[in-house]
């Protein structure tokens, strides 16, 4: 090993202890001296490089991590909450058909409301007077000038977000349910419809849609024509 190579190796790593280097060092006290100088220099370099470390750095680092962890858990919880909400909504949508049979047209809705107020169909003694009915009808701009029979029930109800008037008229054949809906109800019209107990018909008047529902053995035509004549709209 020549002098230059020895210096190159010693200066790149004064602490190196391979065989070649050890041999060179034993043979030459001057080289040993150089090594001692360089090892001393390294100690001084190390002392100089060892700048003071902020005393609270380790604690800060651990705190930073625990805050990050905390944030992550909160984020996970947020997602968990979100996921639970989505599942709940999905569940409700899925089971909605079983809880509330979903009706996509006017006839279906009308039948559902009839069943919902089925008690009123049995309650023969209930009655409302024409004035009360007209008060409710005035919301649609409608009015019944006269009515030959009695009226059992009159109340607003909600037809999938649309306010409509639910009426039950007494006729010789039995009660007939009539729904008055504003034109913008948004449900597909079904002219005639029926199920195992009831049948119904819808009429499109100029200002409102009217749906009639009665028992299967009852006829709807007389009621329909009478309403057509008596129900007047002012607006």
């Amino acid at each position: 090993m020549d002098e230059l190579e020895f210096r190159r190796r010693l200066l790149s790593d004064p602490a190196a202890r391979d065989e070649d280097m050890s041999l060179e060092l034993t043979l030459d006290p001057a080289k040993q001296q150089l090594q001692q100088d360089l090892l001393l220099l390294d100690q001084q370099i190390k002392a100089s490089l060892s700048v003071p470390v902020p005393p609270d750095l380790a604690d800060k680092l651990l705190l930073g991590q625990s805050l990050l962890q905390h944030k992550k858990i909160r984020q996970q919880r947020w997602w968990l909450g979100m996921a639970a909400s989505v599942m709940l909504v999905a569940g409700l949508v899925h089971f909605r058909d079983q809880i509330y049979p979903w009706h996509h047209d006017l006839g279906g809705h009308a039948l559902a409301h009839v069943y919902h107020e089925a008690e009123m169909l049995e309650n023969e003694n209930a009655s409302v007077n024409l004035e009360q009915v007209n008060q409710l009808l005035s919301d649609f701009g409608g009015k019944l000038t006269t009515w030959p029979g009695t009226i059992r029930y009159a109340r607003f109800c909600n037809f999938q977000g649309t306010r409509s008037l639910h009426l039950i008229f007494n006729t010789e054949q039995g009660p007939v349910t009539v729904f008055i809906l504003p034109k913008n109800h948004g449900l597909p019209n079904t002219d005639d419809f029926s199920d195992s107990l009831f049948h119904g018909r819808s009429m499109q008047l100029e200002k409102a849609d009217v749906v009639l529902v009665a028992g299967l053995q009852q006829t709807l035509a007389p009621m329909a024509s009478r309403l057509y004549q008596q129900l007047q709209f002012q607006i």
């Binding site: 790149s12 100089s48 700048v51």
Partner: protein, 171 residues
């Protein structure tokens, strides 16, 4: 405390001081160095699972820190540009235990080219071998050895030229 947290705390305790010093010698600024170490350990926490062996931890953390430092230049080039060029001496960095010679040497180390200083820090401060340094800095071993040689050679020259140190050596 989870197993991951125990490992993390051990890493922080074992390496935060040397990493801070290494960061300081990369950026010459204590608060920037502190930020760098914070970023480094947060990244380390996020990918702690990828660290398989404890013996690789040192090199792994250094790699993360170097990457963070490079990112800092992309992000904050304008913030630190003036500091980098004009302000290289930081009196705050001298601890009470540091002698005048050490302070002098500190200045000389500061004057070394970055490419010489960095392997020297890894060798002297972290006790890394030439191969480990080569791996960390993505250089070949010969280049690392040459740079280490030049770093020490330049420091010796500076010390020998210095009147104070020269006098003390002869005295």
């Amino acid at each position: 405390m989870s197993n991951k947290q125990i490992r993390y705390e051990a890493l922080v305790r074992a390496f935060h001081a040397d990493l801070f010093r290494y960061a300081y010698w990369l950026c010459h600024h204590r608060s920037v160095a502190e930020d760098l170490v914070q970023e480094t350990f947060l990244r380390a926490w996020k990918s702690l699972d990828s660290l398989q062996e404890a013996s690789a931890a040192k090199g792994w953390l250094i790699t993360i820190l170097r990457r963070e430092n490079a990112r800092r230049f992309e992000r904050k080039q304008f913030d630190y540009q003036d500091v980098e060029q004009d302000w290289l001496e930081d009196e705050q960095s001298f601890g009470p235990e540091q002698t005048y010679e050490n302070q002098q040497l500190h200045r000389y180390i500061t004057k070394l080219p970055e490419e010489y200083r960095e392997p020297l820090v890894l060798q002297v401060l972290f006790g890394m071998t030439g191969d480990e340094i080569a791996q960390s800095l993505e250089l070949n071993l010969n280049t690392v050895n040459t740079r280490l040689f030049r770093a020490r050679h330049q420091l010796r020259e500076l010390i020998l030229q210095s009147p104070a140190t020269g006098a003390s050596q002869h005295g």
